[in-house]
Symmetry: C2
Subunit: 190 residues, 2 copies
Protein backbone atom coordinates (compact mmCIF):
# COMPACT_ATOMS: atom_id res chain seq x y z
CA UNK A 1 0.00 0.00 0.00
CA UNK A 2 1.44 3.36 -0.95
CA UNK A 3 2.73 5.56 1.81
CA UNK A 4 1.21 8.69 0.31
CA UNK A 5 -2.28 7.28 0.95
CA UNK A 6 -1.34 7.33 4.64
CA UNK A 7 -0.20 10.94 4.42
CA UNK A 8 -3.27 11.89 2.42
CA UNK A 9 -5.54 10.45 5.11
CA UNK A 10 -3.71 12.39 7.83
CA UNK A 11 -4.00 15.63 5.88
CA UNK A 12 -7.69 15.10 5.09
CA UNK A 13 -8.33 14.37 8.78
CA UNK A 14 -6.47 17.54 9.86
CA UNK A 15 -8.61 19.66 7.52
CA UNK A 16 -11.87 18.01 8.61
CA UNK A 17 -10.95 18.53 12.29
CA UNK A 18 -10.58 22.25 11.59
CA UNK A 19 -14.16 22.61 10.44
CA UNK A 20 -16.00 19.79 12.19
CA UNK A 21 -14.13 18.99 15.39
CA UNK A 22 -13.43 15.52 16.75
CA UNK A 23 -16.97 14.19 17.00
CA UNK A 24 -18.02 15.70 13.67
CA UNK A 25 -15.14 14.09 11.79
CA UNK A 26 -16.17 10.62 10.63
CA UNK A 27 -14.12 7.78 9.17
CA UNK A 28 -16.49 7.51 6.18
CA UNK A 29 -15.83 11.09 5.16
CA UNK A 30 -12.07 10.65 5.62
CA UNK A 31 -12.20 7.61 3.34
CA UNK A 32 -14.33 9.42 0.74
CA UNK A 33 -12.20 12.58 0.70
CA UNK A 34 -8.82 10.84 0.69
CA UNK A 35 -9.86 8.42 -2.03
CA UNK A 36 -8.32 5.59 -0.04
CA UNK A 37 -9.74 2.07 -0.01
CA UNK A 38 -11.78 1.37 3.11
CA UNK A 39 -9.44 -1.27 4.52
CA UNK A 40 -6.45 1.04 4.34
CA UNK A 41 -7.51 3.02 7.42
CA UNK A 42 -7.05 0.06 9.75
CA UNK A 43 -3.97 -1.03 7.80
CA UNK A 44 -2.27 2.31 8.41
CA UNK A 45 -3.97 3.12 11.72
CA UNK A 46 -4.64 -0.11 13.60
CA UNK A 47 -6.10 1.82 16.55
CA UNK A 48 -8.65 3.54 14.32
CA UNK A 49 -9.97 7.07 14.60
CA UNK A 50 -8.11 8.10 17.74
CA UNK A 51 -4.75 7.16 16.23
CA UNK A 52 -5.55 8.91 12.96
CA UNK A 53 -6.64 12.06 14.80
CA UNK A 54 -3.49 12.03 16.94
CA UNK A 55 -1.39 11.90 13.77
CA UNK A 56 -3.45 14.72 12.28
CA UNK A 57 -2.88 16.79 15.44
CA UNK A 58 0.85 16.04 15.11
CA UNK A 59 0.71 17.12 11.43
CA UNK A 60 -0.96 20.38 12.54
CA UNK A 61 1.67 20.82 15.26
CA UNK A 62 4.56 20.53 12.81
CA UNK A 63 3.04 22.81 10.19
CA UNK A 64 1.70 25.54 12.46
CA UNK A 65 4.83 25.61 14.62
CA UNK A 66 6.94 26.11 11.49
CA UNK A 67 4.53 28.83 10.35
CA UNK A 68 4.76 30.71 13.68
CA UNK A 69 8.54 30.35 13.73
CA UNK A 70 8.80 31.80 10.21
CA UNK A 71 6.50 34.70 11.07
CA UNK A 72 8.48 35.52 14.22
CA UNK A 73 11.75 35.52 12.26
CA UNK A 74 10.56 38.39 10.04
CA UNK A 75 11.47 41.01 12.67
CA UNK A 76 14.42 41.04 15.05
CA UNK A 77 12.58 42.96 17.74
CA UNK A 78 10.29 40.57 19.66
CA UNK A 79 7.54 43.19 20.15
CA UNK A 80 7.40 43.92 16.41
CA UNK A 81 7.64 40.22 15.55
CA UNK A 82 4.79 39.21 17.87
CA UNK A 83 2.56 42.12 16.90
CA UNK A 84 3.12 41.34 13.23
CA UNK A 85 2.26 37.68 13.84
CA UNK A 86 -0.94 38.58 15.71
CA UNK A 87 -2.06 41.15 13.13
CA UNK A 88 -1.34 38.65 10.35
CA UNK A 89 -3.46 36.09 12.21
CA UNK A 90 -6.25 38.68 12.41
CA UNK A 91 -6.15 39.15 8.62
CA UNK A 92 -6.14 35.39 8.07
CA UNK A 93 -9.06 34.98 10.46
CA UNK A 94 -11.12 37.40 8.38
CA UNK A 95 -10.03 35.88 5.08
CA UNK A 96 -10.98 32.28 5.65
CA UNK A 97 -12.45 32.20 9.13
CA UNK A 98 -10.84 28.94 10.19
CA UNK A 99 -7.68 29.48 12.07
CA UNK A 100 -4.87 27.18 12.99
CA UNK A 101 -5.20 27.80 16.69
CA UNK A 102 -8.89 27.30 17.17
CA UNK A 103 -9.18 23.65 16.10
CA UNK A 104 -6.70 22.60 18.79
CA UNK A 105 -8.74 24.48 21.40
CA UNK A 106 -11.88 22.78 20.09
CA UNK A 107 -10.31 19.31 20.27
CA UNK A 108 -9.09 20.01 23.82
CA UNK A 109 -12.60 20.97 24.91
CA UNK A 110 -14.20 18.01 23.17
CA UNK A 111 -11.78 15.32 24.28
CA UNK A 112 -9.58 16.25 27.26
CA UNK A 113 -12.09 14.49 29.45
CA UNK A 114 -12.36 11.26 27.46
CA UNK A 115 -8.88 10.57 26.06
CA UNK A 116 -5.52 11.12 27.70
CA UNK A 117 -3.85 10.35 24.37
CA UNK A 118 -5.68 13.18 22.60
CA UNK A 119 -5.13 15.52 25.54
CA UNK A 120 -1.38 14.78 25.47
CA UNK A 121 -1.27 15.35 21.69
CA UNK A 122 -2.91 18.78 22.14
CA UNK A 123 -0.61 19.62 25.05
CA UNK A 124 2.34 18.87 22.80
CA UNK A 125 1.01 21.35 20.22
CA UNK A 126 0.79 24.14 22.78
CA UNK A 127 4.23 23.19 24.19
CA UNK A 128 5.72 23.59 20.70
CA UNK A 129 4.08 26.97 20.17
CA UNK A 130 5.27 28.13 23.59
CA UNK A 131 8.76 26.93 22.68
CA UNK A 132 9.05 28.99 19.46
CA UNK A 133 7.75 32.10 21.21
CA UNK A 134 10.08 31.49 24.16
CA UNK A 135 13.00 31.02 21.73
CA UNK A 136 12.31 34.45 20.25
CA UNK A 137 12.38 35.95 23.76
CA UNK A 138 15.45 33.98 24.87
CA UNK A 139 17.32 35.19 21.77
CA UNK A 140 16.50 38.70 22.88
CA UNK A 141 17.89 38.42 26.37
CA UNK A 142 14.82 37.35 28.37
CA UNK A 143 15.45 35.20 31.41
CA UNK A 144 14.47 31.56 30.94
CA UNK A 145 11.63 31.37 33.45
CA UNK A 146 10.17 34.68 32.29
CA UNK A 147 10.43 33.64 28.62
CA UNK A 148 8.42 30.44 29.10
CA UNK A 149 5.73 32.00 31.31
CA UNK A 150 5.39 34.93 28.92
CA UNK A 151 5.19 32.63 25.89
CA UNK A 152 2.36 30.69 27.55
CA UNK A 153 0.55 33.92 28.50
CA UNK A 154 0.88 35.20 24.91
CA UNK A 155 -0.52 31.95 23.51
CA UNK A 156 -3.36 32.11 26.07
CA UNK A 157 -4.32 35.66 25.10
CA UNK A 158 -4.18 34.77 21.38
CA UNK A 159 -6.28 31.59 21.75
CA UNK A 160 -8.77 33.32 24.05
CA UNK A 161 -9.19 36.33 21.78
CA UNK A 162 -9.72 34.05 18.77
CA UNK A 163 -12.77 32.61 20.54
CA UNK A 164 -14.04 36.14 21.22
CA UNK A 165 -13.43 36.92 17.51
CA UNK A 166 -15.71 34.00 16.59
CA UNK A 167 -18.54 35.45 18.69
CA UNK A 168 -18.11 38.87 17.05
CA UNK A 169 -17.52 37.58 13.49
CA UNK A 170 -14.53 39.87 13.12
CA UNK A 171 -10.91 40.01 14.21
CA UNK A 172 -11.07 43.20 16.27
CA UNK A 173 -10.37 41.38 19.57
CA UNK A 174 -7.16 39.94 18.11
CA UNK A 175 -6.08 43.38 16.84
CA UNK A 176 -6.82 44.96 20.23
CA UNK A 177 -4.83 42.24 21.96
CA UNK A 178 -1.78 43.06 19.83
CA UNK A 179 -1.76 46.49 21.51
CA UNK A 180 -0.98 44.80 24.84
CA UNK A 181 2.16 43.05 23.54
CA UNK A 182 4.56 45.95 24.28
CA UNK A 183 3.31 46.09 27.87
CA UNK A 184 3.52 42.32 28.43
CA UNK A 185 7.04 42.17 27.03
CA UNK A 186 8.17 44.75 29.58
CA UNK A 187 8.07 42.02 32.22
CA UNK A 188 11.78 41.40 31.77
CA UNK A 189 12.46 44.84 33.19
CA UNK A 190 9.59 44.87 35.65
Amino acid sequence: MKNNSREEMIKVTALLLQTKGYFGTGLNEIIAKSGAPRGSIYYHFPNGKEQLVIEAIEWTRENVTRFISEKLSLYNDPVEALQNYILDSADRFEQDKYFQGVPITAIVLETSDISDNLREACKKVFDSWHQVIADKLLNNGYEEKIAYDLAMALNAIIQGSLVICLTQKNADPLRKVSNFVPLLLKINNA
Copy 2:
Protein backbone atom coordinates in the same frame (compact mmCIF):
# COMPACT_ATOMS: atom_id res chain seq x y z
CA MET B 1 -47.91 23.51 33.67
CA LYS B 2 -45.74 24.69 36.52
CA ASN B 3 -43.20 27.37 35.83
CA ASN B 4 -40.57 25.68 37.95
CA SER B 5 -40.48 22.79 35.51
CA ARG B 6 -39.36 25.34 32.91
CA GLU B 7 -36.63 26.64 35.20
CA GLU B 8 -35.57 23.12 36.11
CA MET B 9 -35.15 22.24 32.43
CA ILE B 10 -33.00 25.34 31.85
CA LYS B 11 -30.79 24.53 34.82
CA VAL B 12 -30.41 20.87 33.83
CA THR B 13 -29.49 21.98 30.30
CA ALA B 14 -26.90 24.46 31.60
CA LEU B 15 -25.23 21.73 33.68
CA LEU B 16 -25.27 19.21 30.83
CA LEU B 17 -23.74 21.78 28.46
CA GLN B 18 -20.85 22.19 30.89
CA THR B 19 -19.85 18.56 30.65
CA LYS B 20 -21.12 17.46 27.24
CA GLY B 21 -21.21 20.51 25.00
CA TYR B 22 -23.96 21.38 22.54
CA PHE B 23 -23.94 18.25 20.40
CA GLY B 24 -23.52 15.94 23.38
CA THR B 25 -26.53 17.39 25.21
CA GLY B 26 -29.67 15.56 24.13
CA LEU B 27 -33.32 16.34 24.75
CA ASN B 28 -33.93 12.83 26.13
CA GLU B 29 -31.37 13.34 28.88
CA ILE B 30 -32.76 16.79 29.69
CA ILE B 31 -36.21 15.25 30.04
CA ALA B 32 -34.92 12.38 32.18
CA LYS B 33 -32.84 14.58 34.49
CA SER B 34 -35.40 17.34 34.93
CA GLY B 35 -38.20 14.84 35.57
CA ALA B 36 -40.45 16.83 33.25
CA PRO B 37 -43.06 15.21 31.04
CA ARG B 38 -41.88 14.80 27.46
CA GLY B 39 -44.41 17.23 25.95
CA SER B 40 -43.37 20.03 28.29
CA ILE B 41 -40.17 20.78 26.36
CA TYR B 42 -42.06 21.95 23.28
CA TYR B 43 -44.68 23.60 25.49
CA HIS B 44 -42.04 25.73 27.21
CA PHE B 45 -39.61 25.90 24.29
CA PRO B 46 -41.54 25.83 21.00
CA ASN B 47 -38.32 26.16 18.99
CA GLY B 48 -36.83 23.08 20.65
CA LYS B 49 -33.24 22.44 21.60
CA GLU B 50 -31.75 25.67 20.26
CA GLN B 51 -34.17 27.80 22.27
CA LEU B 52 -33.60 25.76 25.42
CA VAL B 53 -29.83 26.03 25.02
CA ILE B 54 -30.03 29.79 24.45
CA GLU B 55 -31.97 30.12 27.71
CA ALA B 56 -29.40 27.92 29.46
CA ILE B 57 -26.60 30.15 28.14
CA GLU B 58 -28.54 33.15 29.41
CA TRP B 59 -28.91 31.44 32.82
CA THR B 60 -25.13 30.87 32.84
CA ARG B 61 -24.54 34.50 31.85
CA GLU B 62 -26.61 35.84 34.73
CA ASN B 63 -25.11 33.53 37.34
CA VAL B 64 -21.47 33.74 36.31
CA THR B 65 -21.58 37.50 35.76
CA ARG B 66 -22.96 37.93 39.29
CA PHE B 67 -20.24 35.61 40.61
CA ILE B 68 -17.44 37.58 38.89
CA SER B 69 -18.90 40.86 40.09
CA GLU B 70 -19.02 39.61 43.68
CA LYS B 71 -15.44 38.31 43.50
CA LEU B 72 -14.17 41.61 42.08
CA SER B 73 -15.91 43.55 44.87
CA LEU B 74 -13.83 41.80 47.55
CA TYR B 75 -10.86 44.12 47.01
CA ASN B 76 -10.86 47.83 46.19
CA ASP B 77 -7.62 47.70 44.25
CA PRO B 78 -8.31 46.31 40.75
CA VAL B 79 -4.98 44.43 40.55
CA GLU B 80 -5.68 42.66 43.84
CA ALA B 81 -9.30 42.04 42.89
CA LEU B 82 -8.45 40.51 39.50
CA GLN B 83 -5.57 38.43 40.82
CA ASN B 84 -7.78 37.11 43.61
CA TYR B 85 -10.51 36.24 41.10
CA ILE B 86 -8.03 34.41 38.82
CA LEU B 87 -6.39 32.50 41.68
CA ASP B 88 -9.82 31.56 43.02
CA SER B 89 -10.72 30.28 39.54
CA ALA B 90 -7.52 28.21 39.55
CA ASP B 91 -8.54 26.59 42.84
CA ARG B 92 -12.04 25.93 41.54
CA PHE B 93 -10.62 24.43 38.35
CA GLU B 94 -8.63 21.92 40.38
CA GLN B 95 -11.51 21.16 42.73
CA ASP B 96 -14.17 20.22 40.26
CA LYS B 97 -12.53 20.48 36.88
CA TYR B 98 -15.48 22.07 35.10
CA PHE B 99 -15.25 25.77 34.99
CA GLN B 100 -17.78 28.43 34.19
CA GLY B 101 -15.76 29.93 31.36
CA VAL B 102 -14.88 26.82 29.42
CA PRO B 103 -18.40 25.70 28.46
CA ILE B 104 -19.10 29.02 26.73
CA THR B 105 -15.85 28.67 24.76
CA ALA B 106 -16.87 25.11 23.86
CA ILE B 107 -20.31 26.19 22.66
CA VAL B 108 -18.77 29.02 20.60
CA LEU B 109 -16.43 26.56 18.89
CA GLU B 110 -19.17 24.00 18.28
CA THR B 111 -21.87 26.34 17.03
CA SER B 112 -20.63 29.78 15.89
CA ASP B 113 -20.58 28.41 12.37
CA ILE B 114 -24.06 26.89 12.36
CA SER B 115 -26.27 29.17 14.47
CA ASP B 116 -26.23 32.95 14.65
CA ASN B 117 -28.65 32.76 17.57
CA LEU B 118 -26.27 30.65 19.65
CA ARG B 119 -23.30 32.77 18.59
CA GLU B 120 -25.13 35.93 19.69
CA ALA B 121 -26.07 34.33 23.02
CA CYS B 122 -22.40 33.49 23.67
CA LYS B 123 -21.28 36.97 22.57
CA LYS B 124 -23.70 38.41 25.12
CA VAL B 125 -22.06 36.31 27.86
CA PHE B 126 -18.59 37.63 27.03
CA ASP B 127 -19.97 41.19 26.73
CA SER B 128 -21.38 40.91 30.26
CA TRP B 129 -18.11 39.59 31.67
CA HIS B 130 -16.19 42.38 29.92
CA GLN B 131 -18.67 44.87 31.38
CA VAL B 132 -18.15 43.84 35.03
CA ILE B 133 -14.37 43.86 34.61
CA ALA B 134 -14.54 47.24 32.81
CA ASP B 135 -16.75 48.60 35.62
CA LYS B 136 -14.07 47.69 38.16
CA LEU B 137 -11.48 49.55 36.07
CA LEU B 138 -13.75 52.55 35.40
CA ASN B 139 -14.42 52.86 39.13
CA ASN B 140 -10.66 53.07 39.60
CA GLY B 141 -10.05 55.89 37.16
CA TYR B 142 -9.31 54.02 33.94
CA GLU B 143 -10.26 55.77 30.71
CA GLU B 144 -13.32 54.28 29.02
CA LYS B 145 -11.68 52.94 25.85
CA ILE B 146 -8.76 51.48 27.81
CA ALA B 147 -11.10 49.89 30.36
CA TYR B 148 -13.11 47.98 27.74
CA ASP B 149 -10.09 46.84 25.70
CA LEU B 150 -8.31 45.75 28.86
CA ALA B 151 -11.39 43.90 30.14
CA MET B 152 -11.59 41.98 26.84
CA ALA B 153 -7.85 41.20 26.94
CA LEU B 154 -8.16 39.95 30.54
CA ASN B 155 -11.09 37.70 29.62
CA ALA B 156 -9.13 36.43 26.59
CA ILE B 157 -6.07 35.53 28.68
CA ILE B 158 -8.27 33.81 31.30
CA GLN B 159 -10.27 31.79 28.74
CA GLY B 160 -7.14 30.87 26.78
CA SER B 161 -5.20 29.78 29.85
CA LEU B 162 -8.15 27.65 31.01
CA VAL B 163 -7.82 25.65 27.79
CA ILE B 164 -4.09 25.24 28.43
CA CYS B 165 -4.97 24.13 32.00
CA LEU B 166 -7.15 21.37 30.52
CA THR B 167 -4.22 20.03 28.47
CA GLN B 168 -1.98 20.02 31.55
CA LYS B 169 -4.59 18.73 34.02
CA ASN B 170 -3.64 21.42 36.50
CA ALA B 171 -4.26 25.13 37.02
CA ASP B 172 -0.64 26.31 36.81
CA PRO B 173 -1.24 28.27 33.56
CA LEU B 174 -4.04 30.24 35.24
CA ARG B 175 -1.83 30.97 38.28
CA LYS B 176 1.04 32.10 36.04
CA VAL B 177 -1.32 34.35 34.10
CA SER B 178 -2.34 36.11 37.32
CA ASN B 179 1.30 37.30 37.58
CA PHE B 180 0.79 39.36 34.41
CA VAL B 181 -2.17 41.29 35.80
CA PRO B 182 -0.12 44.08 37.45
CA LEU B 183 1.73 44.68 34.16
CA LEU B 184 -1.43 44.71 32.03
CA LEU B 185 -3.16 47.11 34.39
CA LYS B 186 -0.33 49.58 33.97
CA ILE B 187 -1.70 50.43 30.52
CA ASN B 188 -3.56 53.40 31.96
CA ASN B 189 -0.20 55.02 32.70
CA ALA B 190 1.63 53.64 29.66
